[in-house]
């Protein structure tokens, strides 16, 4: 039991920054970019398709981008959490906001789904960045 629990605990020193920083940053800026950099082109293409696809469907459903807004605890957690999710799509987010995408809060369930699509695209990209990190440091074949 104890062996099973400690199986995935890394025992060696922390991997050097230069080994994983570039793939992780590329993966943040362009979904799948870290995988492209690490010569996993098919995986990178699939991740790009999935994350960008979810992001564009979110835009087409007129989802709202979160802004970091404080208030009571719930408002703060939701807005900052959503903002981090939106920001995690990297250049997709920056291009969309730079080109003027700004959606007010609409009383429409479809727009609400769109907001969730935009945030979840970022969360999926975080998973892809973690995968790129694991490949870069050799924790994953």
């Amino acid at each position: 039991m104890a062996d099973k629990k400690t199986k995935n605990v890394r025992k060696g020193p922390r991997p050097p920054l230069q080994k994983w920083l570039l793939p992780v940053v590329l993966g943040w800026l362009v979904p799948g970019g870290g995988h492209f950099y690490l010569n996993r082109r098919n995986h990178g293409a699939l991740l790009l398709f999935a994350v960008a696809g979810m992001f564009f469907f979110g835009l087409m459903m007129r989802g709202r981008m979160f802004v970091p807004e404080s208030g009571d605890l719930f408002t703060t957690v939701v807005n900052y959490g959503g903002y981090i999710g939106d920001l995690s799509t990297g250049l997709l987010y920056f291009f969309a906001t730079w080109l003027g995408y700004s959606q007010p809060l609409l009383a429409s369930p479809v727009a609400d789904y769109g907001t969730k699509f935009l945030v979840c695209a970022g969360l999926l990209n975080i998973l892809a960045m973690v995968d790129a990190y694991e490949i870069a440091v050799g924790e994953k074949p």
């Binding site: 999935a50 696809g53 087409m60 479809v110 789904y113 998973l127």
Partner: protein
């Protein structure tokens, strides 16, 4: 352009994209990845249909 999807269409689309990412990062060989992506998509669909029926029946 405004895309007016139904709840079911949006949920299936969400399941599709999420299953792709989970499949790519979740397993080590391509065959396992394909199976895992299909499994994740199937779980999403089962949850969508199951919870929808629960809400329908629970609502009376």
């Amino acid at each position: 352009m405004f895309l007016a999807l139904s709840h079911l269409q949006a949920a299936l689309l969400f399941a599709f994209f999420t299953a792709i990412v989970m499949g790519v990062i979740g397993r080590d060989s391509d065959r396992e990845r394909l199976h895992y992506a299909g499994y994740v998509f199937g779980c999403f669909v089962a949850a969508i249909v199951g919870i929808s029926w629960l809400m329908y029946l629970g609502h009376g």
